[in-house]
């Protein structure tokens, strides 16, 4: 298994390098640079030039690229041009928030979405089905930032259950949960929507498979047919969707972080973008690409876990 993981990561290396190159180029064609951001608008040209020199922005593009690649290949993502701190430190600081948020919304999505999808499939065209489909449609139809604002208005301002600034320190578990609740619910709703509908349709498909008929012919009680025989098969496309939308989730967390004032990768990248923190941007994209590669890997391993056909000796 470990060999497999290593191999997969190795295979992903060219992808990562390609991502890096694209990002590097992208970042450099953009007008504006970090020097201006750092020195402010009344800085003289002289001061700007001096700082550019210090930041290594005056080197040729190729030289910068080579430097950058060498650095990345040695496992170092460099320092933020803005704060001067190592990028990995910066990332490590907010990563727990992003992971926490992603995992929480994933858990909400799966824990609510899968049973909802099953009920929906079993009571096809019944009121439960319509209700579940409605919920999932609502989840799909709200742009994340709209629902975020609504959630804030209702739960933070009206009911005062949750804080507006969701950046409680990692140390305080109760506050952390309180500040995680709204953003997680906001993103979880999207996840839930996708999971519900995939579970439903895949469950409908699986329930008409021959082996379900076999199970019923054996006299397996209805509930067990669903939970033991159908669910695991139905989960395979669900895993695909979860894997696919994890990327979307991570992307959408940008919006959630902005509206809920939460630290996280998304906010970091928007900040880096606005401040033209080149090294930070590059580093973050590497992290993003790496996370996606990891997600894919996890998805594949989950397949192996669910579906014995995938894993062959």
């Amino acid at each position: 298994m470990i060999g497999f993981i290593l191999k997969r990561l190795l295979v992903a290396l060219p992808t990562l390098l390609a991502v890096l190159t694209i990002v590097f180029l992208f970042v450099r064609v953009a007008p504006g640079d970090p020097a201006m951001v750092i020195l402010g608008d009344s800085a003289s040209q002289e001061a700007l030039e001096a700082l550019r020199q210090q930041l290594g922005l005056n080197k040729s593009l190729l030289a910068q690229y080579v430097d950058f690649m060498l650095m990345v290949l040695s496992g170092d993502l460099g320092k933020s041009m803005l704060s001067g701190r190592p990028i990995l430190d910066e990332v490590a600081e907010v990563l727990p928030y992003t992971i926490e948020l992603t995992v929480a919304s994933l858990v909400i999505g799966v824990v609510v979405g899968v049973p909802l999808g099953i009920v929906s499939a079993r009571r096809r065209n019944g009121w439960a089905d319509y209700a579940a489909r409605m919920i999932s449609l609502i989840g799909l139809s709200f742009p994340a930032f709209v629902s975020a604002v609504l959630l804030l208005l209702v739960f933070a301002i009206q009911l005062r259950w949750f804080p507006v600034i969701s950046s409680a320190a990692m140390a305080d578990p109760v506050e952390r949960l309180r500040s995680l609740a709204l953003p997680a619910f906001n993103l979880g709703l999207i996840m839930l929507a996708y999971i519900t509908r995939v579970t439903r349709s895949s469950m409908l498909g699986v329930m008409s498979e021959d082996y379900i008929r076999t199970a019923r012919a054996k006299g397996v009680p209805g509930r067990m047919v669903v939970w033991r025989h159908a669910l695991r098969n139905a989960l395979i496309p669900v895993v695909t969707v979860v894997g696919l939308y994890l990327g979307v989730l991570i992307g959408n967390s940008v919006l959630s972080e902005i509206v809920f004032n939460r630290p996280g990768l998304g906010k970091l990248i928007v900040g880096a973008l606005n401040q033209r923190d080149y090294t930070m941007l590059q580093g973050l994209m590497v992290i993003y690409a790496f996370i996606i590669v990891l997600c894919n890997l996890l998805t594949d391993m989950t397949y192996g876990f669910i579906d014995p056909r995938v894993k062959r000796q």
Binding site: Y211, G219, R232
Partner: protein, 334 residues
């Protein structure tokens, strides 16, 4: 036949909803099955063979289909009015079924051993270890090589013939009174088919159960069945002991069927094809349903539905035909 039949189906009608209307897929199907007897049901695709078996199992897809009439007496007990939980206790226990597609009929994510042991758990209340032991014995009985080692394999690791053996082991687990086999060998190679057929014959012998064997291969019928029931467009058109059917096919459809098979053991003289095709269940003609394809068709065939009658000279041979049929209505005899 003195002994009471283990399975007695009478007047079974099963309908499906097509565009909001109910149409009969099988109509008035009746047959009896004695202990240890093998009844083969043959007929063209779509004639209702599987639906007959599924009706007996209570597996007609709810919502889309329903049993509209008739009785299914299994060891004297009518299955039709049973509730789903009651039916679950019967299925796999007193009556079990093997399906055609060994590739798709086993759950790909559960081990074969588990799938066999499962019904022992539900019907016999066996614990994990006991169920496993019993299932292992079944594996050996259906001749799965190195059964113990392969017990925890997944279906995809088995070949088609092997999977069909697992299906058979599953069906036999609770020693049912009746085994319904829906084209269990159609998807298999001839050599494997021969093995499975032999196995079925063997287990029937040792378990003494009755078997309904559905197929459209008359060669297979000839090698396994005691009695044959020929169906056409949802109706039984002829039923007779095996020898009688081959020696003296009476319904024009049965006759045509036998003449359309090229044989491996001798040169076929002249193949005869049956022109046309089976009418759809939503567009059944009135009168004899075979009339449009029948060489012997007469005006009366289209006028009224022929009854299933006994041949005058053979009390075991029933035919549904105005032209060839006997004079005594079979229903009346029963």
């Amino acid at each position: 036949m003195s002994e009471a039949p283990v399975l007695e189906v009478s007047g079974l009608t099963t309908e499906f909803r097509i565009h909001g209307q109910w149409h009969a897929a099988i109509r008035g199907v009746s047959f009896k099955l004695a202990r240890g007897e093998t009844l083969a049901i043959v007929g063209e695709s779509g004639c209702g063979k599987s639906i007959t078996a599924l009706s007996v199992m209570g597996l007609v897809p709810p919502g889309a289909g329903r049993i509209a009439g008739g009785r299914i007496l299994l060891e004297g007990r009518d299955l039709v009015p049973l509730s789903e939980p009651e039916m679950e206790k019967v299925r796999g226990n007193r009556v079990s079924m093997i399906f055609q597609e060994p590739m798709t009929s086993l759950n790909p994510v559960l081990t074969v051993g588990f799938q066999v042991a499962e019904s022992l758990h539900y019907h016999r209340g066996l614990g994990r270890a006991e169920a496993r032991k019993t299932a292992l014995a079944l594996f050996e009985q259906v001749k799965i090589p190195s059964a113990a080692r392969r017990f925890d394999d997944y279906p995809h690791q088995f070949s088609g013939g092997m999977r069909q053996r697992v299906m058979i082991a599953m069906a036999l687990a609770c020693n049912p009174a009746v085994l319904l086999a829906d084209e269990p060998t159609t998807a298999l190679d001839v050599t494997i088919q021969a093995q499975v057929l032999a196995l079925l014959a063997e287990v029937r012998e040792s378990y003494g159960m009755a078997m309904v064997f559905i197929t459209h291969n008359l060669g297979v019928v000839a090698s396994i069945a005691d009695r044959v029931m020929v169906m056409y467009a949802g109706e039984v058109v002829e039923t007779a002991p095996i020898d009688a059917v081959f020696a003296r096919p009476t319904h024009p459809y049965t006759e045509a069927l036998l003449r359309s098979i090229p044989r491996v053991d001798r040169n076929t003289m002249e193949l005869q094809a049956i022109g046309g095709q089976v009418p759809a269940i939503s567009a059944m003609p009135s009168g004899c349903r075979f009339a449009d394809r029948c060489a012997l068709v007469e005006p009366r065939c289209r006028a009224a539905d022929p009854p299933l009658t006994l041949l005058p000279d053979d009390p075991t041979h029933q035919v549904r035909c105005w032209v060839r049929g006997g004079t005594v209505a079979a229903e009346a005899v029963q």
